[in-house]
Every structure is written in C-alpha cells, then in structure tokens.
C-alpha cells in the first residue's frame, strides 16, 4: 500500500518537475524571456462592480453583479479592493420567497448573498455622481475608505456595470443616466491623475457596445454584451422566485470563469473564443485599440484576480548583454508581430507600439538554459530523499 503510493508520488514528481527541464531545448529560450518580461507590471488589483437597477423585477442585475463579486473574490481580490454598488436590496425584498438569499441559477446551488458580502454603496447611494466621484477620487474628506477607490498608477481596475441602458447611456436607478462621454471623461481624468495602470471595462446592458465608443484614454480594454440596436437578454428563469436570475452575457462569461483559478494562464483571447452569439443572443464587442497588449497575452487574472507573483524556482536566469546574442534579441520582436495576424479577424491591428518595443534593446538580455548535470542529480537525490521520508512517515 505504502509502496504503491510512494511509486505514484515519485512518478508524479518526476513528471511535474524533472521532465520539463529535461525536454527543454535551446529554442524555447525566447519564450522564457517572454514570460519573464511579461510579468505583470501592475502591483495591485481593484474591482468596481456596479448594478444600477432598482426593483424586484431587475433581480437578475443584482445577481449578475454579485456573481462577478463572487468570482473576483474567489480569484483573490480582497473586499478592501472591491467597491460593490447595488442599487437595490432584493435579498430582503418582501417578494423574495427565499428571504435573505440571492441566486443566479434556478438550481439554487450557490447563495450569492450567503457569507461575507460587503456592499459599499447600496440603494440610493448608487448615483451617477457618486460613481464618477468614486472613479476620479473627488470624494468628500469624510468618505470612509471602504467607499473610496484608492488606486495608483500601478493599479489594474476591473469595472463591471449592469443595468438597463440604451444607445450611449446607462440608466441609474429610475431617475438619471450616465452617458458614454461621462465615463470616457472620468477615465481621462483618472489617467491624468495616475489613478490606474490598466482598466478592464465590462458592461452587460442593452446596446452595451455603445458605452465604450467614446473612450480615449490609454490602456483600456473594453467589453460589451451587445451591439447598437441590440438587446441583451436574460438567460435563466427561476419559477420559484418568479424572476429571471441572470443575463446571458454574464452567464456565459461566468461559465468560463468558473474554471479559472488563481494560477490560471488563461487569457482574454481564450475567453473571447468561447463566445457563441447564438447562445448569448447578441453580439458581444471588444475594444482593443486603446490597449497595448495583444489579448492572447493578457491573463484573465491580470484583472479579475490579485495573484501574488511569487514563484519558487531552483533555476537561475543568466543575463548576458544583448550584443553577445543578437539572434535572441531579434526573436523578442516576434511576439508583437505574431498576434497581429491572429487579431486581424476580430479587432483592428495593434499598432506596433507594444510593450516589448518600449523597452530599450540595449538593456535586453538573452537567456540561456543552463542547468548542469551535477545540479540535476542533486535535485533528484533531494526528491528521492524527501519522498523516502514521506513514505517512512506513512
């Protein structure tokens, strides 16, 4: 029994640890460089999740927002970095047949309102003015920290909005609306004030794609659920509660995101590739022209998670001056040209001002794979020793 377990452990360790290093060839070196330089350049993550709809029949908008809240929290963004705005409290609505719960699926498997939900702006706090003040940081001095967006020029911000909208506007509550110009100008001010590094703007509403048309500040990736003239539809209906519980665009995003964890290397391109306009019943839009990085190099966790990039490694990276290895330096340019071809179908070509070229070539260093056999043997013996210790202890 113990022997079998030991054998399995050994094989597993060999497969996971030793195997990759043995099959590494010289040609993969540029990929390593790539990975090295594509380490996230931001240092903190924030999320602003906004439901702008009131009333019981808009239950699904609250569920949309809470589902996103659950996802970003699961992926590591702490409550202190999440601003959650809910315009209504359907959990405590007397019409709610299951009091103090909010579900996004008729199976009622996950109670979105179950534990530790921190709503920062609720009910009539959710106004256009408060939202713009929050983004631009123009809050009153007595505003508590939980109601402030305390970002800096190293912050990646995920902004998710849902509600009832139209051509270039989104309704707040029942009385006012925010226009795409308002949001674009708020982002511009944020950029001027160095309040963000990158923004992911996602909106699920009717004619959602019109909401990001006026953005003009750099480093913004924007996604919407439907084209101009299109409605965004609800997806699942709970006949027990008597309302629709989630919208299509949000649902199909979540369907993918549920399989994403903190360590995931899934990119936005992967997510977008799963979009099926037949199931979503509208045409989601992605605006990338303000965003310098190609989508297949943008990790979902860059925005939706707060991953601590701590990696334990026994390898070391040997940096040599670029002059010594000109060929490797040239290959560095490849990643910037490759995605252009790939992106051409879905979005306008990316301008060649990508992150890689902004780094001076003179400072680039080629990396060589360099692991002597002696070290590899020592490593193996360490593993065997450890495994033996484990087996003995069992």
């Amino acid at each position: 029994m113990a022997g079998g377990r030991l054998l399995t452990t050994l094989v597993a360790i060999w497969l996971c640890w030793v195997m990759p290093t043995t099959v590494t060839s010289q040609g993969d070196s540029h990929q390593k460089v790539d990975t090295f330089f594509r380490q996230p350049t931001h240092s903190n993550n924030w999320a602003v999740l906004v439901c702008t709809s009131r009333f019981w029949f808009n239950y699904r908008h609250i569920a949309n927002t809470l589902s996103m809240y659950r996802t970003v929290k699961r992926l590591g963004i702490p409550d202190s970095n999440i601003i959650l705005m809910l315009a209504d409290d359907v959990a405590c609505n007397p019409r709610n047949k299951s009091p103090a719960t909010i579900y996004h699926h008729p199976s009622q498997a996950i109670d979105l309102y179950g534990q530790n939900v921190e709503v920062d702006y609720r009910g009539y706090d959710v106004t256009v003015e408060n939202f713009i003040r929050l983004l631009t940081g123009r809050v009153k001095p007595d505003t508590p920290r939980s109601k402030r967006l305390l970002t800096d020029d190293k912050s990646n911000i995920f902004i998710y909005m849902t509600g009832h909208g139209g051509d270039e506007f989104l309704k707040f509550q029942d009385a006012e609306e925010i226009s795409s110009h308002d949001i674009a100008d708020a982002f511009a001010q944020m950029w001027e004030k160095k309040r963000y590094h990158e923004i992911l703007f996602v909106i699920d509403t009717c004619q959602a794609n019109t909401m990001y048309t006026h953005f003009y500040s750099p480093n913004i990736l924007a996604m919407g659920s439907s084209r101009k003239g299109e409605n965004s539809y609800s997806y699942l209906h709970d006949h027990d509660i008597g309302v629709s519980v989630i919208d299509r665009f949000t649902y199909f995003n979540l369907e993918y995101l549920e399989n994403v964890d903190m360590q995931s290397r899934a990119t936005f391109q992967d997510l977008i590739d799963t979009y099926d306009t037949n199931r979503i019943s509208s045409h989601p839009g992605i605006r990338t022209d303000l965003f310098p990085r190609p989508l297949d190099q943008v990790l979902l966790t860059d925005f939706l998670g707060a991953v601590q990039n701590v990696e334990l490694t026994t390898k070391y990276v040997n940096l040599v001056p670029a002059k010594a290895s000109r060929v490797s330096a040239e290959t560095l340019l490849e990643p910037s040209s490759r995605p252009v071809a790939k992106e051409a179908q879905s979005s306008p070509p990316i301008e060649p001002t990508t992150a890689t070229t902004s780094v001076p070539l003179s400072t680039l260093h080629a990396v060589q794979d360099h692991m002597p056999w002696s070290q590899r043997l020592a490593q193996l013996s360490l593993v065997v020793g450890l495994a033996g210790a484990v087996a003995l202890s069992l």
């Binding site: 009333f55 007397p94 509660i241 309302v243």
Partner: protein, 711 residues
C-alpha cells in the same frame, strides 16, 4: 409687412371666408356623415392594436403556482358549509369565524342607508379580514371581494364565490412572499352599496346624515388593485367574463386586464368581455389577418361582427355607468378593479362536486384558484401604482385595444359638424344686416386689362366691403348684444333654469310627496320615480309654455330663432367635446342622438327682395315646410328622456321606473354624471329644438329699429 401684402392677404382670407359661408351647411353635414361612418371602422381588425404589457414589474405567468387539490377540497367544504346555513347572519358569522381562525384581522361593519328618492332603506353587514404582509411595511394592499349575491342580479347567489375566496384566504396565509397586505371583503346588503359604504369609511369620508356605517378599525394601506369574483352555483363554468367599466367612463388600467388575459390563456380558461362569446378567435394570426386573401373574408367578417358586438356592449355600459358589478365603486377611489364573473357551462348539471366522475367539461375551482393565485402573484409585483398602460381605451376583444387617438376623431368630427351648423346660423344672422356681398363670385370688370388694374379693383372692393361690414366693432358688438339678449334669456332663464329645477327635483320630490300635495301621488298610485317623471314632464311643459309666451309677448321684437339655434348647437358641441375626453361613450351617445336632428333644424332662410347695394334689404323668413318640421319634431320627441327611458327599459327587460330611479341613485350615491348632463345639457337643448321647430318665424322688420339702424 407692406400694405400691399396685407391687402392681398385680406383678399385671400375674404375669398375663403365667403366660400366657407356659402357652403357651411354642406360642410357640417359632411363632417357629421364622416364622423358617423368612421364609427363603423372602429371594429375592423386592422384598426385596433394588440394589447401589450406595459409595466415590466408585473411579470404575469412567471412564477410557479401551487394551488391544488387541497385548496379545491377546502373550497368545496366551505361551499357546503355555507349552503347548509340558511340565514344570512349565520353565514356572515361563519366567514368571520374562519377569517379569525386563519389569522386574519377580521372585522364586521354594519351599515344602513336611506335613499330618499326611492324612499327605501338598505342595511347589511360587511365582513373583511386583513392579512398583513409578513415582511413588508404594510403600506399597500390588494383586495379580493366576494359579494353574497350577484351585483347585477340580486336573485343569483354567489356562495361559490365566497367559498372560493375563503379557500384562497387559507392558501394565501401559507405563502410568505407578500409585499402588500391582502384585504378580503364580503360586502353585505346590495353589494355595490356595501362596497361603497366600506370604501367611504376606509378612506375616512365623512358620513352624511342618511349614511350610517360603522367605522373601520382593522385597516391597511393604499389599495392598489381589487378583484371581485361572482361565481354561479353550478358544477362547471364555460368562460370567465370580465366586467370593468366604472362610473363616468372610468376604466381600470389596461395592464390589469392584460395580466388577466395572459394568465387565463396560460391556464386554458376561456375569457370574454361581458360574456360575449365570439364565433371567431379573438386573436387572429398573421395569415388570418391578411384581408387581401378572399379566403379570410368570412372569418374577418365574423371577427368584425364579434368586435362590433363587444364594442357596442362595453360602450353602452361605459356610457350609462349603470352598475355592472362590485368593481365599479372602486374606480372613484383610484383603485383599479374588475369583476370576474363565470358563465355556467351549458352541459353542467347539478351542484359542484369536488371529485367529479370522469373528465369534466369546462372549469371550476381548480383553474379559478390557479388564475387567482397567478393574478395576485403578479399584482404583488406591482410597484407603487398601475400607471404605465392606458386608462382610456376601447376593447373590441380582450386582446385588442383602440387608443384614444384612434377613436376620438369621429366624435370630434361630429362636434365640428355641430360647430359648423352653429356658424351657419350665426352667419345667416350676420348676413341680414349687411347686404350679401356678391364680391367673391364677381370678377373685375372686363375693362380692366392690366394686372395692376385688376388688383386695384380688388382693393377697392375690399375696402368697400370692410367699410360696410365692420364700420365700428363696438357698435356691432352692441348690436349683437341687443339682439342676443332675449335669446340668451330664453336659453338661460327658462331652459337652464328648468335644468336646475330638474336637478333639484329628486331631493325635493320625497318631501313634496309628504308635504306639498298631501297624499296626491299616493292617491294616484304613483311611485316616487313615476311622480318624479310626472313632475319633470309637468315642469317641462310649463317651461315650454313660458318660453313660448315670453317669445311671443316680451321678446317679439328681437327674438331670433337662428341665434337660439346657434347657442343650442354650441352648448351641445361644447358638452360633447368636453365629455368625449373623459367618457367617450357618453359623448358618443350624446352625439349620435342629437347631432343629426339638431344640424337639420331649420335655419330660416333670408331672402332679399331687392338684393342690390343701393336699396335697403327687405328680407323674408321661412322655417321650412310644415311637414318637414313635424318630422323633425317627432324625431326630437323620440329622443326625449322619457321615451329613451322606455326604450331602454324595453331593451334591457326592466321597468322604466327602475332605470329612472337607478339613474338618480347612481348620481346621488356614486356621483354619476348622467343625470346632471341630462338636466343641464340634454333636456334644455331638446326644449330649444322644440321651440325652434314650433316657433320659427320672427318679426324682422322691427329689428333695425331696435338696433337703432337706418332702414
């Protein structure tokens, strides 16, 4: 603007006005004809729109309903228990006890109401129970009403309705999703009166002396919707009829009917308006609607007839405002309410059975319970108030509506026709004093060859015309006033005075029965309504005679039937136009009754013996041939209120005294406008018509003297 331009404009205007003056009668008759023909367009399938749910919050058919066998069994138990109790008091006690047992806050309210006009006292006991919403702030409420008897037919018992509501009371108590309180009301006495007394007390209206009703202590919030059930005591129902018209043209919000239509469709319960069974489907599909294909014509024809019948019935109900059900009093308190009345299934025999043998035709408690549960779940979602959808509409079927923009034109056209006829009268009066201008028809003399010369000629003519027609405005106003005073006096003093008297009669008559002519009416064996009618006719006759006398003796110099005709037509026109936006059906009834005969009233023709500009005009008048006037007089008599009351009584299988006293009671108790409209508009207008027809001539030669004009 230069003078030239102004003159040219003046010439153009003058030409138009002259043409209008010449053809005004034909124009007004044309407008009337178009208005009447338009009415026949209303039932066309193409002309109406499909109803749609306007308020997103309502969400009908979105929730699973679970009214089931247990509730049906409870309903049958209650029904049996109620049938076994034979007197009203023990039944009321039963309901009260059950409400208390179920945890409702229950209360009884006794009332007594004496109606002086019909000299009758009604008494009864209302029972109501309030279920406070478990998690809401209890500022809003929904109502479920079951009267003990049918409001429209007091001989039919509604024990099934009471049992149905009691079973629902039990079931609703178990649900936890109420955002509004539920009020269940079982009105006693005559159902509409019981409701009215209850509503008055609920809304804190001060009770007048004859109204005695206990105050209500068990209360709730603002009532946002009410549903009344009237179910005959039979084994199965064929269809569910909606009755929705209130007093004075008030209707519930269309969304209330929309959710009922959608929910009954979901539950496979046939729905009708006023029990009008259609021979064609109420909703035609895209193919069936295509009137270009001759295959569809029989179907479209049947659809048209069904819609016509539905419109006619519902509009008649809206116009008269006679009580159609217990929902009617609610509308006055801004509560959207309808009565759902089940029609017995023709194949159903015997009383209701909880577990019928074999498949049952029609439907019963099970389907009704599900419909009610769904409707209340939907109403429970309502926010604040019904406000999104239409409050003014016509329904050719429960699935189609005609909006006010589409149905108001015919009535307004008829009003415009009357206005044209009034203008014709006025111009005819005006034309007498000024020799008619032959200008519009004449052309510049042949000698003028150049354009400029022709133009100068026109300008000359225009100034000449203006000189003679409008010498001094003040003088003409004074002339009009001198001329109009006697006519106005006839209209205002005698006819509107009569109206006031008629209006006050219902309150005077009971006293007069006891005091003024002691025992006279009783001696003659007349009921109050009959006495009222006799007095009304007496007053009318008296007033007519006084008018005639006054016209002959006092105002002989200045009385002008054309002015009376004009003022009468204006009065009618104003009444029709004003009422049409509130109670379209009533305005339409008024227009259909009066427009044609009144526009045909003779305008005495003015004929000038010497139609030249030099000699003074010597006009003669004629009121049309005697036979024609007799025909019109008969027509006017045929649409007089007593004849109408008799006709309607014959049509609705009631006695005219019932109708007559019903109308007065409707006014006194529910504030219906039919009686005041009759007193202040209809009857005076008819009297003026009679006067015009009987006394069409005037002494024209003395008028210029009266005006101080030179001959």
């Amino acid at each position: 603007m230069t003078d030239d331009k102004r003159v040219r404009q003046g010439v153009r205007t003058l030409r138009v006005v002259t043409a209008l003056r010449r053809h005004i009668n034909w124009l007004s008759w044309g407008l009337l004809a178009v208005g009447l023909a338009w009415l026949l367009v209303l039932p066309l399938e193409l002309y109406s729109n499909r109803t749609y749910l306007s308020e997103n919050a309502l969400m009908p058919n979105q929730a699973r309903r679970s009214y089931g066998d247990a509730q049906v069994a409870a309903a049958h138990q209650h029904l049996q228990a109620l049938v076994n109790r034979h007197d009203q008091d023990s039944r009321v006690a039963y309901v009260f006890e059950w409400l208390q047992r179920l945890g409702y806050h229950a209360e009884t309210q006794s009332f007594q109401y004496t109606q002086t006009f019909v000299n009758q006292t009604w008494a009864g006991t209302n029972v109501h129970g309030v279920l406070h919403a478990p998690r809401a702030d209890t500022t809003e409420a929904l109502m479920l009403v079951a009267p003990w008897r049918f409001a429209t037919d007091p001989n039919r018992s509604n024990l099934s309705g009471v049992a149905h509501v009691l079973a629902l009371a039990q079931y609703f108590r178990e649900l936890n999703h109420w955002a509004k309180d539920l009020i269940l009301l079982f009105p006693g006495g005559p159902p509409t009166l019981g409701i009215e007394m209850w509503l008055r007390r609920y809304h804190g209206e001060a009770m007048l002396s004859p109204h005695q009703a206990d105050p209500l202590y068990v209360r709730s919030g603002v009532i946002q919707g009410a549903l009344t059930f009237e179910l005959p005591h039979t084994a199965a129902y064929a269809s569910l009829g909606i009755f929705h018209e209130g007093k004075n043209g008030q209707l519930p919000n269309l969304d209330l009917l929309n959710i009922i239509a959608r929910i009954t469709k979901q539950e496979n319960v046939p729905l009708t308006l006023h029990h009008i069974v259609r021979s064609s489907p109420a909703q035609l599909n895209g193919h069936q609607r295509n009137w270009l294909s001759s295959d569809n014509w029989p179907l479209l024809y049947r659809h048209y007839l069904d819609s016509l019948r539905t419109l006619w019935t519902t509009m008649a109900a809206q116009a008269t405002g006679l009580t159609q059900g217990t929902h009617a009093p609610f509308h006055r308190y801004r509560i959207d309410a309808v009565t759902l009345q089940a029609a017995p299934h023709p194949e159903a025999t015997g009383p209701a059975a909880p577990w019928p043998n074999g498949p049952m035709a029609g439907f019963h408690f099970q389907e009704l319970g599900r419909v009610t549960e769904s409707v209340f779940r939907s109403l429970n979602n309502l926010l604040e108030h019904f406000h999104q959808s239409f409050f003014i509409y016509l329904l050719p079927s429960p699935w189609q509506y005609i909006s006010i923009a589409n149905f108001i034109p015919p009535v307004l056209l008829m009003a415009a026709g009357l206005l044209g006829a009034a203008l014709g009268s006025w111009w005819s009066v005006h034309g007498y004093y000024q020799p008619p201008s032959s200008m519009a028809r004449s052309n510049p003399p042949l000698t003028t060859t150049t354009k400029q010369a022709a133009y100068d000629w026109w300008v000359q003519q225009l100034f000449a015309q203006t000189e003679t027609q409008f010498p001094r405005r003040i003088h003409n106003y004074a002339a009009f006033w001198t001329l109009a005073r006697p006519t106005l006096a006839v209209l205002v003093v005698f006819h509107l005075g009569l109206g006031t008297l008629l209006y006050l009669l219902p309150t005077i008559v009971p006293q007069s029965l006891q005091i003024v002519p002691p025992g006279l009416f009783a001696h003659l064996g007349l009921s109050t309504a009959e006495a009222h009618m006799a007095l009304t006719q007496g007053f009318t006759l008296f007033s007519c005679l006084v008018s005639f006398g006054a016209v002959r003796q006092w105002y002989r110099n200045c009385y002008d039937p054309r002015l009376l005709r004009m003022l009468t037509l204006l009065l009618l026109m104003l009444a029709i136009a004003a009422v049409s936006v509130v109670n379209f059906s009533l305005a339409l009834a008024l227009a259909m009754l009066t427009a044609v005969p009144f526009s045909l009233l003779p305008t005495p023709n003015v004929k000038f013996e010497h139609p030249t500009n030099d000699a003074p005009a010597v006009p003669t008048f004629s009121g049309g041939p005697f036979v024609w006037r007799s025909v019109l007089l008969a027509w006017v008599m045929a649409i007089s209120p007593p004849v109408l009351a008799n006709t309607m009584a014959w049509a609705t299988n009631q006695t005219w005294t019932q109708l007559w006293s019903g109308m007065v009671v409707e006014h006194q108790l529910f504030g219906s406008w039919v009686y005041p409209l009759l007193c202040f508009i209809y009857w005076p207008a008819l009297m003026s018509a009679v006067l015009i027809l009987c006394y069409p001539s005037l002494r024209i030669d003395s008028i210029p003297n009266a005006l101080g004009m030179d001959k």
